[in-house]
């Protein structure tokens, strides 16, 4: 996740002019791979001579501009921001642009919205898509007028030749432009960023008019003629198998059309065993489900529980961990000679994604083709899973991408897609599968919990001299028996402050669980940043040092920290270096904006700070809190400074991600915890799994951006990791109480 290089090198890019429309429009395609030409020729015209909109830019003779958005929209605002990049270079007014959501097709390259990669993987490409279309329109005008293209300018969808006072709108030029050669992607002229009119402007989300009027938009809103409704009961214990079910009784219930067992697989991210009920409405299906009685084979997972693992971890914590992740110097020797040594234990539970739109999906098995409407973050993996599980060729699976009511990583796993496909495979009608909230919490791809047993030391001058982390995490045994951590459970050997402290030891033990885990917004980073920056704060206070100055000393004077080279024979190249200069800059600016060290807070109030680098973004945050004597926490203000490169494409969307990350981080810190007993989640709706309400949201959030001469990258994830530690450090400053366990609602914050 920490590579700063773009995925696609320029020499592999090709522009393809798809076709001149019958009506004379201009269509520009853009392909990641140079073998895209055949696909383009095949797909440019749709059935019956109609046009299949498969390119990124389409300009009609009436001047209407359509930009196709290929990435899944999950609330991160990508359907607005990436088309803005094309529109900027194309030089059209935003009000004249219509955005269309793309279906899933290889012609678009990757359509995965994960790891905050949508922007860094597409930004440069999209600049060039827009610029190439503009260059062709300019050339068309120049040829029409018999003047050099260099003398023509563009603005608001119009080409102008000032010397002869002539101008033509793009719509009038598309027929000619479509006959011209496509410019070379690598050398097409781009606008000077100082001339940007759209990039950097606050633009409201393109779907907002539909959102506020309740128009059909989300996966759960899909309605297909003749559609039936399905629910799918899975074993409460993870991936348990069906022994038998009272299918005949269920089939006789009102509105029920069918009920059947799906054997399923043992793949925790795939098709789990269960019982499908098909009915004439969602409510008929849900009602019938209440009468469903299933005998399950729960398997050995029923012997597992969170509490047992915690007990085991505590017993093992005094011994060396199963694996050494990083060892520099000699921590034990340093602890013996240090001025102060402190120890602390940090614990966080498993949590759920809790996208407010429950998992759902619609599919139709029709004449050997599987048609799917999916609120997915990564539809291609869903297509692959459907293909392998049901033995349907990938080209016979068509996926329509809908807006998602929240993603947070949950919809990267296509379990809900294979479920509906497996059901639709047995039903002679389009089927919409809807999970209820209980399904959603019972069968999430959970964020793994963890325990960190930390020991650190400072010397007589208050400088950190040793750091030891004995880390316990959770995973599953793969082929060959090797137990790998779940997503976000792998602590990188290079995780800060590894590399910065001369005596450093990080060890890891992974428990084999049988529990489903998956990526949760800024996997790993969001928990490691809390542990690390809380413990740094503990060391700073032990040393009697200011937390800002203490951190700047740890970061040191070097502007770059090289990544540790991968071991010989490992896949992939070396990771990107950590740009210490960028981190120092955001940290100093956040402190400055917060008047760090200048403000005096009465007891019960205080400020804390933290920083973190993840997903190519450098973020520092300062939180100010008030804790009442009764222990009630109010976050008064959070100041966030982010460096995600040279441009903030849509500041409204970027700030939304920061504001959302801060509320999300606070919600997880304060409230969220899955209870896992006997291999199942036991708190399965919002009454038992609360999330933050409006009154507990911070009073104020200030989002600042430091623009630097670096590639433009994403904001969906890197703003969340510093939130929890900044707030916890502020709580300590206010009360002297250190939060070492999530959720913080378990810590008594009363003071006197």
């Amino acid at each position: 996740m920490k590579t700063a290089t773009l995925n696609n090198s320029i020499d592999r890019r090709d522009f393809i002019r798809l076709s001149a429309l019958a009506s004379g429009g201009l269509v520009l395609g853009f392909y990641i791979n140079s073998n895209g030409e055949a696909q383009a020729a095949e797909s440019a015209s749709g059935p019956g001579g109609s046009f299949a909109p498969n390119a990124f830019v389409r300009i009609a003779p009436d001047g209407k501009v359509t930009i196709v958005s290929k990435q899944p929209e999950i609330g991160q605002g990508i359907k607005t921001s990436l088309p803005m990049v094309i529109a900027e270079q194309l030089d059209v007014d935003w009000k004249d642009v219509t955005i269309e959501q793309a279906d899933v097709h290889d012609r678009y390259g990757s359509q995965s919205a994960g790891g905050s990669t949508s922007t860094p993987n597409n930004y440069e490409n999209f600049l060039r898509v827009g610029a190439a279309a503009r260059a062709m329109l300019v050339e068309a005008a120049a040829q029409t007028w018999g003047v050099p293209a260099a003398q023509c300018t563009t603005a608001s969808g119009t080409v102008t030749h000032s010397a002869s006072k002539r101008s033509l709108k793009y719509g009038a030029l598309v027929a000619k432009a479509a006959t011209l050669p496509v410019p070379d992607a690598a050398t097409v002229a781009l606008k000077d960023p100082k001339d940007y009119k759209l990039i950097g402007r606050r633009i409201t989300g393109v779907d907002n008019p539909k959102v506020v009027t309740g128009a059909s938009l989300f996966g759960i809103d899909v309605r297909v003629p003749g559609m039936v409704y399905a629910v799918y009961e899975k074993c409460p214990a993870f991936a348990g198998k069906v022994v038998s079910a009272n299918l005949d009784q269920v089939k006789a219930l009102p509105g029920v059309k069918d009920a059947f067992i799906i054997e399923g697989t043992s793949n925790l991210s795939g098709l789990k065993p269960g019982v499908a009920i098909i009915a004439d409405s969602t409510w008929s299906a849900l009602s019938a489900r209440k009468q469903l009685k299933v005998i399950w084979d729960e398997g050995k997972v029923a012997n597992t529980s969170w509490d047992k693992f915690v007990t085991e971890a505590k017993e093992l914590s005094t011994k060396p961990g199963a694996r050494v992740l990083r060892k520099d110097g000699d921590v034990d020797a340093a602890f013996k000679t240090a001025a102060k040594v402190i120890e602390a234990e940090y614990v966080y539970p498993f949590i759920s994604h809790l996208s407010l739109e429950p998992m759902n999906c619609t599919a139709h098995w029709n004449n050997g083709t599987m048609e799917v409407w999916a609120p997915s973050q990564n539809p291609a993996t869903g297509r692959a899973l459907i293909s392998t599980t049901l033995n349907i060729p990938q080209e016979k699976i068509n996926i329509h991408l809908t807006r998602s009511g929240g993603g947070f990583g949950r919809r990267l796993t296509p379990d809900f897609m294979i479920e509906v496909a497996a059901i639709a495979h047995k039903v002679n009608a389009p089927v919409k599968l809807t999970w209820n909230r209980e399904d959603d919490l019972r069968h999430d791809m959970m964020r793994p919990g963890g325990l960190h047993f930390l020991k650190g030391a400072v010397d007589a001058k208050g400088k950190v001299v040793a750091w030891k982390n004995n880390f316990f995490t959770f995973g599953n045994a793969g082929p060959g028996g090797l137990v790998s951590p779940g997503s976000g459970g792998a602590l990188s050997p290079d995780e800060f402050p590894g590399r910065w402290i001369s005596n450093y030891l990080a060890e890891q033990t992974v428990f084999d669980t049988g529990w489903p885990m998956g990526p949760w917004r800024a996997p790993g980073s969001c928990v490691f940043a809390w542990v690390i920056h809380s413990f740094i704060d503990e060391l700073a206070h032990a040393a009697g040092r200011d937390p800002l100055e203490f951190r700047l000393e740890i970061l040191g004077d070097k502007d770059e920290m090289a990544a540790t080279p991968p071991p010989a024979g490992a896949k992939g190249g070396p990771a990107a270096p950590y740009n210490v200069a960028r981190m120092r800059a955001v940290l100093k600016l956040a402190a400055e904006k917060a008047d760090w060290g200048k403000k005096k807070y009465p007891k019960g109030q205080g400020a804390g700070l933290a920083f973190h680098f993840s997903h190519r973004g450098y973020f520092a945050q300062v939180a100010e809190v008030t804790v009442s004597k009764e222990g009630q926490l109010k976050v008064d203000r959070v100041i966030s400074v982010g460096d995600v490169g040279s441009q903030i494409v849509n500041p409204s969307g970027a700030d939304n991600q920061v504001e959302g990350s801060i509320v999300d981080g606070l919600s997880v810190l304060m409230l969220q915890e899955l209870n896992i007993e006997r291999g199942r989640v036991t708190n399965v709706n919002l009454d038992e799994y609360p999330i933050l309400r409006i009154a507990d949201a911070p009073t104020k959030i200030e989002s600042h951006w430091l623009k630097t001469n670096n590639p433009v990258t994403g904001t969906g994830e890197p703003a969340i990791p510093p939130v929890a530690p900044a707030i916890c450090n502020a709580i300590f400053a206010a009360t002297g109480k250190r939060i070492r366990q999530f959720p913080a609602s378990r810590t008594d914050l009363r003071w006197s």
């Binding site: 409201t204 009027t213 409510w283 929240g406 919002l686 309400r693």
Partner: protein, 160 residues
């Protein structure tokens, strides 16, 4: 059972089981999908509609209990001309939504708040909106949006 419902000023006759929540009648039977399913137990308020003007959880409202009540959903909030309700307009202007899934419920609750309390304080807003959960964390813009809508309503009244 057959029920005749008054939804957004129009009469709809539906034939469903008496215990069917209004939420599913709206979504599956009538095809008004703006009212959202989030929890099914009245905890998230994504399904908020107006029942005789009162913000009500459609997932907890049995169709048999609706009778002659006037139901207004998010689809019926704007004026017939298409002119958005001030809360809807403020939501667009301020780009309040992230994923947008909870926003129909947020907007319905906010519209009722402003009708009863045209100039709500922060505490009034936090109180009225307490049961409407937003997983994306748009709460700060929701506060701002309600204040902006309050300003628009005030402006409209002043010019009338």
């Amino acid at each position: 059972m057959k029920y005749t419902l008054n939804i957004n000023g129009k009469s709809h006759t539906v034939d469903v089981a008496p215990d069917t929540p209004l939420l599913w009648v709206l979504r599956d039977t009538i095809g008004l999908v703006g009212t959202k399913f989030g929890c099914g137990i009245g905890q998230c308020s994504a399904c908020t509609i107006h029942l005789n003007g009162e913000p009500t959880r459609a997932c907890m409202t049995r169709v048999s209990s609706v009778r002659n009540s006037k139901v207004v959903t998010i689809e019926g909030l704007a004026e017939e001309s298409g002119r958005l309700h001030p809360v809807q307009q403020a939501w667009v202007d301020l780009d309040v939504a992230q994923c947008g899934y909870c926003q129909a419920g947020q907007i319905m609750t906010a519209a009722a708040l402003l009708r009863d309390n045209p100039k709500p304080s922060d505490a009034d807003i936090d109180g009225a909106m307490a049961d409407n959960l937003c997983r994306c964390g748009t709460y700060l813009r929701i506060r701002e949006g309600i204040k902006r809508a309050a300003g628009m309503t005030a402006g409209k009244e002043a010019t009338q």
